[in-house]
């Protein structure tokens, strides 16, 4: 039978005269694998364990996340701690599926030119991030990260925020009416708080309207929604206390 199928005058030879049938068979062949792998993730309830403490991004964090995306930070930084001892030692608790339920798009990354950021939240003070974005080599000598001084100068554009929250709510992120309507105010308040803290730590003044506060808000939230069992960050801490010394 098999011989007959691929023989010179076999069935396949005939198939080569029927491009429509050929195309239909090809389409079936390429659909099977994707469906078998994707459907269980959607249809099987509990294929992703929900974690009660995981909450949607605040409006300012969402704005910071979108800046992170625009700058392509994910091209060099992953956000996915794998369940290996050396990764847990270096970065903290490994990443759970339930932590990413509000991630649109997911930002797990595929390359670590720089360190993983899945658990970077709370690891450094706000001012460290401000200095680091302004000039990475001021906080991490020999770093090869590009500098982002414009984040301290460019105004934060919040005008799309209500639409963003509305769209995300359509897709299933549980934002309240209040959050959607007052998204801009809520973001401003949070920005204010971060800017004050940066000032208190001895940093530049007047950052509350700049992009940097959004990216700091986002980075400081990363990986903090679950109680990490191991006290993360035995490594990779290039000493938060050095922040002021470096400048």
């Amino acid at each position: 039978m098999k011989r007959r199928f691929i023989k010179k005058d076999g069935i396949h030879r005939r198939l080569e005269g029927w491009p429509l049938v050929f195309t239909v068979l090809t389409t079936i062949a390429i659909l099977v694998g994707g469906l078998v792998e994707f459907l269980p993730l959607i249809l099987v309830k509990g294929s992703v364990d929900k974690i009660a403490t995981v909450e949607p991004w605040t409006p300012l964090e969402l704005e910071g996340r979108d800046i992170y995306i625009a700058e392509g930070c994910n091209t060099c930084h992953s956000q996915m701690v794998r369940p290996f001892r050396h990764e847990i030692e270096r970065y903290g608790e490994y990443s759970k599926a339930g932590e990413t339920v509000y991630e649109r798009p997911f930002l797990w990354g595929s390359k670590r030119t720089g360190p993983d950021l899945a658990r970077v939240g709370g690891k450094y003070p706000h001012l460290w991030h401000v200095r680091h974005m302004e000039n990475p080599r001021s906080t991490s000598p020999n770093s090869i990260m590009p500098p982002y001084p414009h984040m301290l100068e460019n105004d934060l554009d919040l005008s799309d925020l209500p639409t963003k929250l509305k769209r995300l709510r359509m897709l299933g992120t549980p934002y309240s009416d209040d959050e959607v309507q007052n998204a801009i105010e809520i973001a401003r308040e949070e920005a204010e708080a971060i800017a004050r803290e940066v000032e208190a730590q001895g940093g530049p003044e007047g950052l509350e309207t700049k992009q940097i506060v959004a990216i700091v808000a986002y980075l400081q939230r990363l990986g903090t929604d679950i109680q990490t069992t191991s006290t993360a960050g035995s490594g990779a801490s290039s000493a938060p206390e050095d922040v002021n010394a470096s400048r």
């Binding site: 005269g17 994707g34 792998e37 994707f38 994910n74 670590r112 990475p136 500098p147």
Partner: protein
């Protein structure tokens, strides 16, 4: 399928004799795609060289818009969709017309496809540095551009399938199978992965979240490699390799087996990009399993390509086209071995997130896609422009620059990747991380980044040589390049296996063929197959001229008796070839 369409398509006209019609191939569209391939190849690889410099030398991140994070997607998009994309369109438009013995279905659609695609590339080159990106790898473009891609792709599909519909050749040759798989699957992948809800013209959120988004993205990402960088290039190989080698394809049966197994299995392999992540483990395991199974279908293609040179290895000596093809196919074999290896969990644990991945993709992109493209362009240049290649020496220099460039690139990335992987996981005797500061693992590999840059610049230098060679060749082309006319019976011919009509081209070809080492033989492409199975009876020849061809009606199309088969040009030579050639088999 109705093959009997005889209405005049563009470029087709009936002659006075009712059973003969004159038609021509649209060569200008292939020329356009060749121009675009060379130009975007240079631009895409130049951006690659810039970002390769930015890694060891961060001062090269210039201002707000030209940082590594914004340029890296520009580099990948330009090389995949602009360079490789235009190359596969050039291959498709050139070979489909000849394999179907029919002009493209619609010249108008061909033009829209070309200009639309270039417009999309320009849009990508503008929006990505401006930070308008979805962040999903190789699908970074925002939704308005995604819609444009879908529209242009549909136009391409209609044009392609329309050409199949009005073909004059009953059997669709293996190259066309791969084009069919490409067109269908890329459409499915692109639409499936790009589904998103717009926030504004420049921003959208995907309908999938978290784990689902990751799985869909790598279903897309992996199969963009499969169906944008593999299957169309296999189609290219199946057409141009036998042409350049003047040999039929090694095995018809192998081409059937490896085609179906390749397209079926490839789709499953996506989750191997997500080993040890939050993706459910069964999916990663399945991805690994199918990746390993994919090794054999991939090598089926490599064997069919390389063994097409059986008995003709000596031709490598003089032919830069064959040199390019052989190295390209060899890199295909190497990266399709490496890919399954990297998908194995224990290897992936070391290699993932490191530069090893970068080495792997460049062995595929520079070696397989790049060299197959260059080989095709060097083959097409004298034919499309009806002249001789300006400098064979320069082309050979391009080959060596490219080859040394690839080797420096991939070897430096292997060293760097394995170094990173080992340093990240190293513990000291006390059980603490040996390199707790991540920066130590960065500075360690910076020298390799310089080596990579040199390798990349060598490869880019080769592309500059191609630009010069193409420019000078085209300058020596005749002023007028009318599409050569061919004659064919009015009723589509459903027999024969010849890739082109029986008539000799009205102009062109003849003169330069003798000077060029790459003599075009009439029929090697569709000769594929039955030639390889060796059952061609002599005496079933192809008619010498159009007038002698039997105009068979559609009614006879299934009556493929042995008497109606195959032309007997060099393409239908029995696989063993003439003894005199066999002796040179072992050369090289």
């Amino acid at each position: 399928m109705a093959h009997a369409q005889t209405t005049s398509a563009p470029g087709t006209r009936s002659t006075g004799r009712s059973n003969i019609e004159i038609f021509s191939y649209d060569e200008q569209i292939t020329r356009l795609f060749v121009y675009a391939t060379i130009l975007w190849g240079f631009i895409g690889m130049s951006v690659g060289a810039l970002i390769a410099l930015q890694l060891p030398f961060p001062e090269a991140n210039i201002g707000e818009y030209l940082t590594f994070g914004r340029l890296r997607p520009l580099h990948t998009n330009a090389v995949i969709f602009a360079f490789a994309g235009n190359a596969i369109f050039a291959a498709t438009y050139y070979s489909t017309q000849r394999l179907c013995k029919a002009r493209m279905f619609s010249d108008w659609m061909s033009q829209v496809h070309f200009w639309g695609w270039q417009g999309i590339i320009v849009a990508a080159a503008l929006t990505l540095p401006l930070g308008m990106t979805t962040s999903k790898e190789y699908a970074e473009l925002e939704w308005p551009i995604d819609i444009a891609i879908a529209v242009i792709w549909i136009i391409f599909a209609v044009n392609f399938f329309g050409t199949l519909y009005k073909r004059r050749e009953k059997h669709i040759y293996v190259a066309l199978w791969f084009y069919i798989a490409t067109i269908v699957t890329v459409a499915v992948l692109h639409v499936g992965n790009s589904l998103a809800i717009p926030v504004s013209l420049t921003k959208s959120y995907p309908i999938y979240a978290g784990v689902q988004d990751a799985l869909v993205q790598w279903w897309y990402g992996h199969n963009a490699v499969a169906f944008f960088l593999t299957t169309p290039f296999l189609g290219l190989m199946y057409y141009f390799m036998p042409k350049a080698a003047q040999r039929p394809v090694f095995s018809y049966r192998l081409s059937i087996v490896h085609f179906w197994s390749l397209i079926f299995i490839y789709i499953w392999a996506g989750p191997h990009h997500l080993q040890y992540t939050a993706l459910p483990e069964w999916a990663g395991t399945l991805g690994m399993l199918f990746s390993i199974m994919l090794w054999m279908p991939s090598w089926g293609g490599m064997i069919n390509g390389l063994f097409t040179l059986r008995g003709a290895w000596h031709k490598l000596r003089d032919s830069v086209v064959l040199k390019m093809f052989v190295v390209g196919i060899t890199f295909y074999g190497m990266s399709t071995f490496e890919g399954p290896m990297l998908s194995v969990k224990s290897v992936n644990a070391l290699s993932h997130y490191t530069d090893w991945t970068i080495g792997h993709v460049h062995s595929g992109a520079l070696g397989w896609n790049g060299f197959m493209t260059f080989g095709m362009i060097y083959w097409l240049l004298p034919r499309l422009w009806r002249t001789t290649l300006w400098s064979k020496k320069l082309a050979t220099a391009h080959f060596w620059f490219g080859l040394i460039g690839i080797l420096m690139y991939v070897i430096s990335m292997y060293v760097s990747g394995i170094t990173q992987g080992l340093m990240w996981r190293a513990f000291d005797e006390a059980g603490r991380l040996m390199y707790p500061e991540f920066i130590e693992t960065v500075t360690q590999v910076v020298p390799m980044y310089w080596v990579r840059l040199i390798g990349g610049l060598l490869y880019l230098g080769g592309v500059v040589m191609l630009m010069v060679n193409a420019w000078m060749t085209i300058r020596s082309a005749p002023k007028e390049l009318p599409d050569p006319a061919y004659a064919a019976p009015v009723a589509p011919v459903h027999s024969g296996g010849d890739g082109r009509p029986g008539a000799a081209p009205a102009s062109g070809d003849g003169t330069e063929e003798r000077k060029d080492d790459l003599v075009e033989v009439a029929p090697s492409e569709a000769a594929d197959a039955s030639a390889a199975s060796g059952s061609d009876a002599p005496g079933t020849k192809k008619p010498d001229g159009p007038g002698t061809k039997k105009p068979e009606g559609p009614g006879t199309k299934n009556a493929q008796g042995p008497g109606t088969k195959k032309p007997d040009g060099p393409g239908t030579k029995k696989p063993d070839g003439p003894p005199s050639l066999r002796e040179t088999d072992d050369e090289d």
